[in-house]
């Protein structure tokens, strides 16, 4: 009985099978950062801001409407609220109770995380500028990174009323932002193919525009 050939066949089938499995399954290929959830220099909670407080994404990431980048807000955007809100509400209530008990005015409570913000802004505990201190930028860790030859344009997607969650996942429930989608080309293409062309859209293959363009130069130039 001969078993060379079955072995060889099995080898081939295995190779092809592995290829298909890698392509189709959740096996992460190099460069795929799906699930990336890095520590940030300030523990900024999207769950609190976008979830509990129900803030609109565009309130801070306003550039997404006008630019290809959504943009990380500058610190003065944070200061818009955090000039007034210097700590969690629980801590404020507690201080009020303690102050009441001690019969004094409640003190300003500054949470350690916001302290980092004020430090970066060069502000003291009373949120007054520290003389000589310059505002320093915060070095956030980029979560959603795409290759430098891919030009993704937030503005177009926002203009078409795409929900941020569709790509970024349930950010309102994330304590720390996590890369929800794999951001692979296939993932982009799948969505483009599934999305109907804009009314009056131009340049679709075939007589009738079928779906959003999947031209190479849509993203690569």
């Amino acid at each position: 009985m001969s078993w060379t050939a079955p072995l060889a066949f099995a080898g081939c089938v295995l190779c092809i099978g592995m290829g298909v499995v890698v392509a189709e399954s959740d096996v992460r290929l190099p460069g795929n950062n799906q699930g990336y959830e890095p520590e940030q220099p300030i523990h900024f909670s999207h769950r609190v801001h976008a979830g509990e407080l129900g803030m609109d994404c565009l309130a801070c990431h306003f550039a997404a409407e006008q630019s290809r980048h959504a943009g990380i807000p500058s610190l003065d955007v944070c200061m818009g609220c955090h000039t007034h809100v210097t700590s969690g509400f629980d801590a404020v209530l507690e201080e009020r109770d303690v102050a009441k008990a001690e019969g004094r005015e409640p003190r300003r409570i500054v949470s350690p995380e916001l302290r980092k913000l004020y430090d970066a802004m060069g502000l003291d505990d009373d949120l007054e500028p520290i003389p000589g201190a310059e505002a320093k930028p915060i070095e956030w860790v980029r979560v959603h990174g795409i290759a430098d030859y891919v030009y993704f344009d937030h503005r177009v997607h926002v203009a078409r009323d795409l929900a941020c969650e569709q790509c970024h996942g349930p950010v309102q429930s994330m304590e720390r932002v996590r890369q929800e989608s794999d951001l692979s080309m296939g993932w982009c293409i799948d969505c483009h193919r599934a999305s109907p062309a804009e009314p009056g859209a131009v340049g679709m293959v075939g007589a009738e525009p079928k779906h959003v363009s999947i031209d190479c130069v849509r993203c690569h130039y």
Partner: protein, 174 residues
């Protein structure tokens, strides 16, 4: 049930062919013939059935042709049609070369795999006295059905056919 296998060695193709005929005349059943090179006309004498390799080859070829043509059409015209140089998505004439090559490839692979499947043993034990088969010896393997042929007749046969070496053993039949 067991049977007795007789092995006889010869030094030339003619003697071997003579021996095959002699065995058959003597009532021995020729199981196999081993030779350093292919000997034409043995197939009928030894009773080797017609090979089905050509069928494997054909099946491989047809599969290759179909697979390659379909796959090229599917990837270029169905899965992701892209305008390449103004050519139609289903540029069938342009798909011909690859379809042809894949046809040949699969036909060839099917043939070779078929051959290997039918003929090879990875851990073959070649009996010490048959080592010269691949050099200049011709070996005849025959089986004596029951006791129709006497030992003496057999010995005469080997002498008559100019065998240079003989041996016999008992094989357990499954």
């Amino acid at each position: 049930m067991s049977r007795r296998i007789h092995v006889a060695h010869y030094t030339s193709e003619q003697r071997l062919l003579g021996a095959v005929k002699g065995c058959r005349d003597a009532g021995l059943h020729v199981l196999d013939v081993r030779s350093p090179y292919p000997i034409h006309g043995l197939d009928e004498l030894v009773g080797i059935p017609r090979s089905r390799l050509p069928i494997a080859c054909l099946v491989g070829g047809v599969t290759g042709l179909g697979l390659a043509t379909w796959f090229q059409y599917w990837t270029s015209a169905t899965d992701w049609p892209i305008d390449v140089g103004g050519k139609p998505f289903d540029s069938l004439p342009a798909f011909a070369p690859v379809a042809f090559e894949v046809t040949i490839l699969l036909a060839g692979l099917a043939t070779v795999f078929g051959l290997l499947f039918r003929t090879t043993r990875l851990r073959a034990e070649i009996p010490e006295d048959e080592l010269r088969v691949t050099d200049d010896r011709f070996v005849l393997v025959a089986v004596r059905p029951d006791a129709d042929v006497s030992d003496a007749a057999l010995a005469r046969l080997w002498i008559a056919t100019e065998a240079v070496h003989t041996s016999e053993y008992v094989e357990d039949e499954r």
